[in-house]
Symmetry: D2
Subunit: 183 residues, 4 copies
Amino acid sequence: MNRSPRDSPLAPALEAAAWLNTDRALTLEGLRGQIVLLHAFQMLCPGCVSHGLPQAARAFDQFGPRGLVVIGLHTVFEHHAVMGEDALAAFVHEYRWRFPIMIDQPSSSGPVPRTMARYGWRGTPTTVLIDRTGHVRLNHFGHLDDLSLGAAIGHLLAEDASAPEARTPEAARSGTCTPLGRG
Amino acid sequence: MNRSPRDSPLAPALEAAAWLNTDRALTLEGLRGQIVLLHAFQMLCPGCVSHGLPQAARAFDQFGPRGLVVIGLHTVFEHHAVMGEDALAAFVHEYRWRFPIMIDQPSSSGPVPRTMARYGWRGTPTTVLIDRTGHVRLNHFGHLDDLSLGAAIGHLLAEDASAPEARTPEAARSGTCTPLGRG
Amino acid sequence: MNRSPRDSPLAPALEAAAWLNTDRALTLEGLRGQIVLLHAFQMLCPGCVSHGLPQAARAFDQFGPRGLVVIGLHTVFEHHAVMGEDALAAFVHEYRWRFPIMIDQPSSSGPVPRTMARYGWRGTPTTVLIDRTGHVRLNHFGHLDDLSLGAAIGHLLAEDASAPEARTPEAARSGTCTPLGRG
Amino acid sequence: MNRSPRDSPLAPALEAAAWLNTDRALTLEGLRGQIVLLHAFQMLCPGCVSHGLPQAARAFDQFGPRGLVVIGLHTVFEHHAVMGEDALAAFVHEYRWRFPIMIDQPSSSGPVPRTMARYGWRGTPTTVLIDRTGHVRLNHFGHLDDLSLGAAIGHLLAEDASAPEARTPEAARSGTCTPLGRG
């Protein structure tokens, strides 16, 4: 990630065809002041289903209460006929994804949809972090491990001292050892 | 974690009986200005072997080049006779842990060794993060997920803008989808 | 599983709407003399995608050369509009499933397709093992661990001594210990 | 594995220095008529701790009620001083292994203990299956996947029709799909 907003590009606007899991359209402008995680995926992309989307869901559960906005972006660039809105809705229902999901606006001139083209994404899964000032601080194609994503989120959260107190999750004690016996 | 050093206690000094994987003793005073991750473990603690130590090794590999100091602390409070220095050395050799490991100084008055007592740890695994000013910002007993630990490290790294540029790891592309075909 | 064909029902015939990954339709009658693993799934069923289909693929790779026939059955009983043949073909292409896959014949009278109704399956994933005499020896709904599935397959393979010699896979030596050093 | 006892060697006798988790010494002769799984391990062997011993425990839980005898063999050929009986007892206690564990008799002439030498094992983990007639049907060094081990156990269980009825475990329904809704 970029350590400073200065060398980071401003995030292009999102071009949405439709939204799921939210009753109003979201815009990056409207989210200024908040940290935004965009997860670009396709519902038939194996790496998205096994890794990217579960990771986005973990980030949503864990950092949503601390101000992180998680948005799934369905950026269909192949198999368009079978990854339409109805198919996506069934997929979201079955997998119980709960964060807002935007359908990227198709392009009239090629298979790559508009937001994907604007951001220059190479494929799916892609993970993007936008800071409170609207700059793209991380733009990562492919598998991203949790330690790295956590560090990038932690860095952006630290940039504003007025954010609410961070919580460390109450962890399962299973497998632990204490002087009083094993957990 | 604590968002500010102000409400965080100063880290007590380490009391070492011996060190592995380093040719000189480390002190927290000598590490002032660096972020320190202490991982307290026992070589026969299942949760340490399956989760805590591998996580410490990942943090060492990933954030060591960015200035994080990782120290394993062998805090033996049970089965003392079979977790001595020779046993630990064999364990470290077989598992190929590469970060510095300190053996906590036994107490003359009870089973809990001295550093463990000073920090008030409840058992193993325990993860501690100390900031550049020597304050304990995270003190966590039990399983800690990678997103949370990553966020805490990222927060502390962000507190000093003079740190070197963060790198996002070159990730495996397996399972990805691109407009040119699958990875 | 049933230890004997005697108390086991004869397997009902398959009713196929179409086939993928094979250039000719398969019938249980035509497969008499071979052991058949049916894996009933839906392409949008999370448990099928994360566990059932990968397990079927492992069984196909490992026991196919020893005479096990693996057939995926796409038994769509919900979201019919978005799990048609084209959608399934894209799914199979992206996930690279290589074993033959049959599309269960829809019913004119309800959501449950015909083969599913004949076998009385409760849902997906479901795993069925048919012995060389055409009897259903295992009919399992839900997660099935590899030890259990392996044992059932091994039992059926043992019922015919004329089968080719079993091979134990050449395993990775990583993590092993030898008197000559670690693997 | 060998499909027939005819081409399989008779299992050499076990030479025990001591036993854990059983109040009497076991002998292969005394176990004739039962299928025996020997799991040769060392308590400081990473592949044994992460894979081999958990697999032996699964086999013990799942096939013990159906007549499989599981025996852990602590075959120490390195780091002898720190893998003695007391250390092993602490290890077994902490990890809660419940199947009988034999300590292999040290050799007076070299580091490799006697049972290990008799069987010609190359290192740890090693998995051995002995059939009801006392023949070694599987002798595998290194990682062995659950499907393969299950198949070998299933084959041996099938060789005696008088064995009790096999049970398929009641599986978790989580992630399943039924016509009535998701599990």
